[in-house]
Point group: D3
Amino acid sequence: MSKPKPIDYVDASAEVRAVYDDIKTSRSVPDVNNFWKYLANDPRTLSRTWQSLKEVMAPGALDPVVKEMLYLAVSVTNGCGYCIASHSAAATKAGMTPEQFSELMAVVGMANETNRLVNGYRVPIDPAFE
Amino acid sequence: MSKPKPIDYVDASAEVRAVYDDIKTSRSVPDVNNFWKYLANDPRTLSRTWQSLKEVMAPGALDPVVKEMLYLAVSVTNGCGYCIASHSAAATKAGMTPEQFSELMAVVGMANETNRLVNGYRVPIDPAFE
Amino acid sequence: MSKPKPIDYVDASAEVRAVYDDIKTSRSVPDVNNFWKYLANDPRTLSRTWQSLKEVMAPGALDPVVKEMLYLAVSVTNGCGYCIASHSAAATKAGMTPEQFSELMAVVGMANETNRLVNGYRVPIDPAFE
Amino acid sequence: MSKPKPIDYVDASAEVRAVYDDIKTSRSVPDVNNFWKYLANDPRTLSRTWQSLKEVMAPGALDPVVKEMLYLAVSVTNGCGYCIASHSAAATKAGMTPEQFSELMAVVGMANETNRLVNGYRVPIDPAFE
Amino acid sequence: MSKPKPIDYVDASAEVRAVYDDIKTSRSVPDVNNFWKYLANDPRTLSRTWQSLKEVMAPGALDPVVKEMLYLAVSVTNGCGYCIASHSAAATKAGMTPEQFSELMAVVGMANETNRLVNGYRVPIDPAFE
Amino acid sequence: MSKPKPIDYVDASAEVRAVYDDIKTSRSVPDVNNFWKYLANDPRTLSRTWQSLKEVMAPGALDPVVKEMLYLAVSVTNGCGYCIASHSAAATKAGMTPEQFSELMAVVGMANETNRLVNGYRVPIDPAFE
């Protein structure tokens, strides 16, 4: 296996094109992002991931912008550069303001700090939280 | 250094009591959580962490409940048991419903999955995200 | 200390050259990878890491290709770009097909997702697993 | 939201029971694990996760025991106690021997070590891996 | 929100300039690093982070060079490229020798390895450590 | 494979006993910790890990107490409960004071926070650090 390569629409199978078409329609975009073009190397994972993501990120009890911000918070914690770039864009498109991004980052920073303070001081769970 | 032990109000220095008092007043709670009682072993970190947290978690461009959900998303990603328990409680107190928790968890799960799909397929950042 | 620099064979000490020679012979390669050229800044860590890796990755109860896939799964989870590139190549050389890589990635993605679902839902271990 | 609680078959909705039944039939087990009983708090995530897992873990280009070992390698890297327990059991059921477990652990340990050596020495990717 | 951009001194508000000035004076440097120029997009986080860092990294019970090495050990574990570069430089400035860096890296590698051996073998805490 | 079990001296093979004896002599302790008793399920990993650890943790360019503190910083970052307990004890035995532990924890917390601020603000490396 050489390094994975993206699969463009013109080179894609009918199965992959169907997913691309659904992404483009659902998101009103002219083309799909690199993420999908690379996942297309495995049509089953492409399809399963898109179906799951469409279901999970749909409006529900949480606003789409909140869902995108949660996605961004996880990606920042994990240090996934691509994911930070793409979900910063997606959150902005969904309505996240620069002020909201700043506050999100402040929370993510504090949470990563206090998670480790808890670990190191070996803090037991308060009975009230059980 | 033996295992860190919690410091209760009655055993605390004036400096630590002042922080405990501010936490209790700010949050309208009768006592502080274990997190603070363990941090009290280092009064400077106790004070700095509380001041930072008070500033970061205050209402602003993001609602407190959204901030608590971001905190929870980070804690779940990092696998910090205490933090998951305490911020599940805090988010609930701030208004998170069981349905919102379920959607938060679905997003956190998907983000952790797709972060790794991106890593493994070595997906380059789309120029549009730069 | 400035940024670490690679040490090429011609510039290496006899101690480092001996490790390079063993790597080249063991793997039937004309030169060692960057990983070893950077580790050579610390000959003891170079030697210890090579001896450990040679022992751990040798054929045993698990096939070498399975060992390389496990290595890749860890590297993808940790987001180590160099390690993903080098162990994708190593796994391929050991026989991993593109279909196997796709399935590996699907498993790694799911595991990272369900690890967090377990964390957030605070699932206790079933007695049967103890 | 209080602490998540498991949902047993007798208390489950028809939708949840249908998933439980499919798990029990597919795996030939008399009851589902705690993981599913907790996910049942969100029937959509329960159903989506089960469908995904069933697809991903099915025999394919990789043997089921290899898939379970990859799952275990990720879970050990992330430090998910429940997942380590449940996938150690699942891998064993799928045929993993104690010797294979030992070798898996040795690889996972080495990968986590060398991932950090790469980070700290800032090793650039060899052109041959691109 | 487009991609975050750095804010140079000439373009900075009085509030941000005051922090930049304090950093430059405290560290005897002619300009601040990119980290601060990007944090300046959120003056409150810029100010809070600088105040915290100044307090935490000041000489105390631990030498500054030890503190910088601890910072580096965390950054290597997390795989933060920028942080590894900047704290390698800072540790060196504080007196870390190449030999000390090599030993630091050997320890960080071993710790990441044995952390996972502990996870996978499910080692219970010895009573003596409690 | 059932859950790993510890192997006590009386039940150990000659090969395992030799490692236990060396640990006990090197550390002047009457018995080995659980970590070693579980690793003994795989005598090769037991032996290799002990040899590596003995070499890495020996006095060198860094004091043993600094090495133990680096080990602890990594373990706290990774959230390995056993490792935090055992290396807190080891660092204390090597001379770490409670004040030093407090400063270590403050640094580890800040590093985990700023690592994520760097990720989210996508801070490029300053040319001076290259």
